[in-house]
Symmetry: C3
Subunit: 315 residues, 3 copies
């Protein structure tokens, strides 16, 4: 593995999963591996879980970790090659990427979708330009279209909690007052396709995910029907891919409630957080025994730690 | 001790004081105790002394320390149970608290009083909700009504500098152009009541502290009279508790000056900082040999270190 | 060396250069020296290279590093002695400096020129007041008039890349849409005067640097002429010292291009970054084999590390 920005970067997923289980069992057993190694965490966007769990993972490995909020602690970044920089942007991503490569053995970056320009977002405009000029391995802390550290933690959680060999996993769209990226959903689908699960997606008409990620996965536009027989219900809002960036304001009835969960009474419930309580998901579901939200959050550390350990070993 | 959010959390104050003296003598003698332990410092509000001294204390103990500005680096927090989160708040404190507990062995949080709603502030609305959902020990970095790390450092300072067995300590209100919380004053009173000192408070009429903390402590509304015979003069502004959150604009003459300090020429002078020079206190007092302000700041490290060491040992 | 805020603070430049070469060869060879030592990095202004390279340098030496954005994480700072602080400033620099000295063995601070008041800037109003009240060694992370860590890295780079005993170094003014301080240019001149190089400066009329730094250095107002025979072309914008803080909007033709670099085809090109591409310097120059910009950035770590190591040894 050279970088970790997509499930496609992984050479051997079962091996990476085993590594995550091993570091969860023995978090401080690899402190020598990261000695004298530095990771830079670069944030263009807010973060709680990712910010803390990746720091924790790095520290567990004995790494030095430097965190930076690029937007307000550094200089405003120019993305366009050949730009005549006589306006507001202060530093070209080419230079920023080249410079941070001088100080870090691994670089991690968070950059959200604009939701204004689908082509720019789906070409991973920021991440790809950053990677073009970086000379060390790159880890995505969520990019415009994917959130692999979240999906890896989700997979670890499913592996830990599944009671059947090939569980049925339902990804359900949920309502939200603001336009959110499709990254978590795309990424979850990408990973589940590589896992030993039976995946289906349920969302309102107009909210189908990009075929780049969702092709081949059954989509059911009736939520109730989709939930039947699920072993894991993974709920998440995303704004429209089709009518790019629009919000599904007419679909408040897609909130996951206890009533809906009764259609599949043994199912576990998952959400990546942060969650809009009683809009996306009812309190009664999030706070039920079926809810795995804190386990997912916990596994973020070990997902990140396995990824960093793998990258350090390959360096 | 399970948490450290109030003097009431302390099992044995003399023992904690001894621990502070011991870590001050030998700051790096306990680096093994914090090995592989992580503390998260979560800030809703500005901080200089608390931010740096607590990091320093954690590092002295060999702990890993993660600092986060919750307001602008993470998500805006919802406090109300059962809220339908379709407005601006992005993550419920229940989830934020549950999540950060996954990454930290101790959590520390700073959250100031609103000064809008006395009941909410005095019920420690934010801190108490945070603590309800956290699964690890909590340290207050100043809350709506108390600032125990400051008071502990103040007590250490008084112990170091006192020349009589039972010093007379005067807490004096001082003028300030903005509305400040009562936290430092409440907390100082709470700690002094547990210490071997003779405490009195002096403040203008209308600025009596909450009976919850100040009951039983003599209040003198004439500052000159109160200062007579003081061994320690501790000055601090607070906005009104009685007429909640209002500023004492008519009391500029309560500024502590050299002239006033002449009423008790051997007294030491204390202030928690930051201080509005020549409004709360005259330069001549702050910069005099009697001033202990930097010693108080220095002792913040050892107060925090003793608290963390105690929590780590009890874990 | 007691502080590092100017080339004048250096006792023995060749020795400091040797130390930089040594730590570059063996970055982790001095991890014991910084054990139990804390450095505080205090930022009033944005920073990328300085922020990361100084953290890296401190960590390479085994130091504990605390980073703080003074403007938005702490309190707003009062600079005037004797001020009656009843307006917006919340803490006097006297107190802030005294307090941070309690927590750090070395303090580093970044404070840019205002470009409003030449006298204030050239008296280093902020830095000098900070230093007056600090009780530990101070490192400049760029001040109003100087940027010694940058210049030291520049000198290391010239030493590494020079092919003649006494290279000809040309500092060229370059266009920029905003008013920038003269700090990098002043500092570069100050260091080059101490190095074994032949220095000249080229800038438009009205943009001569302060005689305090540039006295004795030839200034050529025709850029083409100045570039002839250069071994190193160091380009940088600065706003006018003479007509203080004004921008050279009429001098777009001072941009460094390949065409201009043809006047001295073997010359290396240098810039401290961030750079306004295609305004200050054409892409073709920045991205050419002659460009040393990333080597300069890399050497920031070792410049800082040599400085910190020297300060720790002298402590």
């Amino acid at each position: 593995m050279k970088n970790f920005t997509s499930a496609k970067d992984i050479d051997d997923l079962p091996l990476l999963l085993d590594l995550a289980k091993e570091v969860k069992r023995n978090p401080f057993g690899y402190k020598k591996t990261g000695e004298n190694k530095t990771i830079g965490l670069l944030f263009f966007n807010p973060s709680l879980r990712t910010r803390l769990s990746t720091q924790k993972a790095a520290h567990n490995l004995g790494m030095h970790c430097m965190v930076m909020n690029l937007n307000n602690e550094g200089w405003s970044i120019e993305l366009e090659d050949g730009a005549i920089m006589n306006h507001t942007s202060q530093e070209h991503i080419k230079d920023a990427a080249g410079v941070v490569s001088q100080y870090c053995d691994i670089l991690a970056i968070r950059t959200f979708a604009s939701l204004q320009d689908r082509h720019a977002d789906y070409s991973e405009k920021v991440l790809s330009r950053f990677m073009k000029y970086v000379t060390v391995p790159v880890v995505s802390l969520e990019s415009a279209t994917l959130h692999p550290l979240q999906s890896f933690a989700d997979l670890i959680t499913i592996e830990e909690k599944k009671v059947t060999a090939k569980p049925r996993v339902v990804l359900s769209w949920a309502p939200h007052p603001r336009a959110l990226p499709q990254a978590v959903a795309n990424s979850f689908v990408q990973w589940m396709k590589m896992a030993d699960v039976e995946l289906c997606i349920t969302n309102p008409i107009g909210f189908d995910l990009s075929p780049e990620f969702a092709a081949g996965v059954p989509v059911i536009h009736e939520q109730d029907l989709a939930l039947e027989g699920a072993d894991f219900v993974y709920a998440k809002n995303w704004s429209s891919y089709e009518n790019y960036g629009t919000i599904g304001t007419d679909h408040a009835d897609w909130m996951i409630t206890s009533e809906k969960m009764k259609r599949t009474p043994l199912a576990k419930f998952m959400h990546c957080l942060p969650v809009r309580r009683n809009v996306e998901i009812a309190d009664e579901v999030l706070d039920s025994d079926a809810s795995l939200i804190l386990t997912q959050a916990q596994n973020r550390t070990f997902a990140a730690q396995a990824v960093l350990l793998n990258l350090l070993r390959n360096a």
